[in-house]
Symmetry: C2
Subunit: 469 residues, 2 copies
Amino acid sequence: MQLYEFLTHHQVEQIHEASLNMLEQVGIEFRYPPALEVLSKGGARVEGERVYLSPQLVESQIKKAPAQFTIYARNPDNDVVIGGDNIAFVPGYGAPFVTDMEKGRREGTLLDFQNFVKLTGASQFQDICSGMVIEPTDVPAERRHAEMIYTALKYSDKPIMGSAMGDKCARDSVRMASILFGNERELAQKPRMISILGSLTPLSYDDRMLGAIMEYARAGQPQLISTLAIAGATSPATMAGTLALQNAEILAGIVLTQLVREGTPVVFSGSSSNAEMRSGALSIGSPEMAINTAATAQMARYYNLPSRGGGAVSDAKAPDAQAAYESMMSLLMAQVSGINFVLHTAGIFESYNCMSYEKFIIDDEICGMVKKIKKGYEVNEDTLGLAVIKETGPGGHFLDKDHTLKHFRSEFYLPSLSDRDSFDDWQAKGSPLCMQSANQMFKEILAAYEAPELPEGADRELRKFIETL
Amino acid sequence: MQLYEFLTHHQVEQIHEASLNMLEQVGIEFRYPPALEVLSKGGARVEGERVYLSPQLVESQIKKAPAQFTIYARNPDNDVVIGGDNIAFVPGYGAPFVTDMEKGRREGTLLDFQNFVKLTGASQFQDICSGMVIEPTDVPAERRHAEMIYTALKYSDKPIMGSAMGDKCARDSVRMASILFGNERELAQKPRMISILGSLTPLSYDDRMLGAIMEYARAGQPQLISTLAIAGATSPATMAGTLALQNAEILAGIVLTQLVREGTPVVFSGSSSNAEMRSGALSIGSPEMAINTAATAQMARYYNLPSRGGGAVSDAKAPDAQAAYESMMSLLMAQVSGINFVLHTAGIFESYNCMSYEKFIIDDEICGMVKKIKKGYEVNEDTLGLAVIKETGPGGHFLDKDHTLKHFRSEFYLPSLSDRDSFDDWQAKGSPLCMQSANQMFKEILAAYEAPELPEGADRELRKFIETL
């Protein structure tokens, strides 16, 4: 197996050099005094909020982050390894709106959040419970992060994500994990959550993100250091320039994590794309984003760090053909390029503004197909099947052969959603569109879902903690 | 740039060895006396219709086929290079049915065929006019092949495909090309068509295909030597065994072409997939087919031959999300794996049984995105944009920079179909599904299409030829 590489090795080095050049000569703003202090102590040149990083400082710090790490789940069967030859899928994140075919588009609620946790828990292909699938607008802002973490812990036993809303929310996230999983030393040894913290392109980080970055680094919890540059709007209209800028920002963020706590697990996370130039708005279903995903995987490998990119992402407003082709493009590209962590693998569209119940089901099928491709196959005497081919000979068939019965279940992906019936059989069912079948399926899954029980005492303690907020 | 490789180099060699073993020990049936004669004279051991090929014979013959060749178009701007770093897209082929959202599914007619030729002619992304997009059932069988070739020549000036329906139809195809492009010697020097000729899996070729293979080889016209093994039905349920069997059949076909005429341009063409085991029917939207596409590209490179695989293929019955995610999977996989020739890049679904007007438009967008990814980008001082990044600095924006205005048009793919509007703008348009926009578009394209004129004399001569059939 050989991964797809969009860039040549020389191009990777050109991008790296350009990024170091930016960090040394243009600098980057860290709008948070505690971060400035750490960076200054660590050897960076600090002028006001502008921080200049030398190539030596960058290169020496990023080496300290691990190439691979594990996020531990409530159920140990669901532990997830990030890095190496692994790929982890995490559903949509951060949408203000939610939609389904019956109720239409509306603001998200905690019940919607709970439903998406259940769909994640029920899925074979989603590995981590997304941190903020939708914004639950019916919960008071000061408790929103805590209710989401509680819901994720209660309704699924997969690993969770922490809040990205500043130092206090990060602290609350860690404390809630502590209630279930032990004290901070134990948490640091066996990380229980991952969070996504992003730069403010071009070339800055704000106090909210920096507060959370430093908090999670101190607690030894993994984080995605993430840049979403919008080519033509917040970064150059060239995808090479956008990649170089993205690279500089991610490296700067990682330097900070390692200065706070050497060995903090981080993911090199690039989700840059381009602007739709008529409006200046972000496009996430573009081939430019897929290209940037492939390039991001290569840059991360160059630094020997786990990578994040891609997703089942789309600019469509309905779970239709556009939603599907954009999502498959971006997700398959992530896989063949060797991305390790994919956020937004189910449900999101409308350029990150909306989560769709039907699209969640459609994307979960896409995830299954992409993971099947990743699995590869064995080539040996048995799988080459020379014996059964000789036995069958020209003009014969294999339907009833022992070799077929032995292998087909593990060799062939069995779709949950895709319709492979004949036209007549499909018509007899009422000619359902894929989105209609998905609508049926999400309701059936939610109706049948049984949440893995939380220990009663822990549940009570978590509720008590939330009440103090 | 580095292509995706599904197999290791060792696995490629294992497949190769297994195929040679099959051809030498099991043999392959050629049900056509003239082919048996050529193979016997060429050094194969022939027993009845069973032909046994030694590794030496196979390896010495396949070396004679060119690694790259050109198919010449009526309009030289549309000449297509097959092989090397190139990828050629050709719309759907061989569907008995046709459908659109208004008229529904019905048998194909010559008018439908003409419409698809026009859509191909109008497309930026389709490179060759497919040979038998749909079966025009309103044309008498004896003239059907000729009417399709005439229609392809008349309504587009892209390269065409020849008929695969036996030696006589192949001869007619060559004669019609001759009317436009000169005598057989000239045709052999500048090939004007490519045809798809397939084995009958497992391990046989029938007289119709062999007649056409030999005819085209004599005329020096390129051909796809193609195998579609159905894992679990016509080949082992293991994809490795299916690949080995596919490989054996393609190699045997190529040996025949080179024995007929050394240097006949061929494409190593593998479109094997798996059976839906409940029904035994072919599935083409499966990840197994995508895997086989990637492996086929590698096998072809191992033999230094152009490859064919993948396509915008689907088992869906409507131009919905399933149609789109399956098509994007298969087409993007072909591209990242280095496939050179992709048949079925627009319109086909229902496991090759039906052409959809709306899906043609949807797939054409997919083709555009995939070609954009293939294009790659330059990394140099200008595209890295250090100057404009320095000028903009932290917190600035790039929307109005000269660098942006200079680059965005060539850097960003401009979609024709994909909707990137805001939710409100999309809703104001009536919330169109992708298939509805595609329905609009195909009608607009057909209404606006102006066919590139055929020289009047040639037109008359072609009609006269058809009347003799």
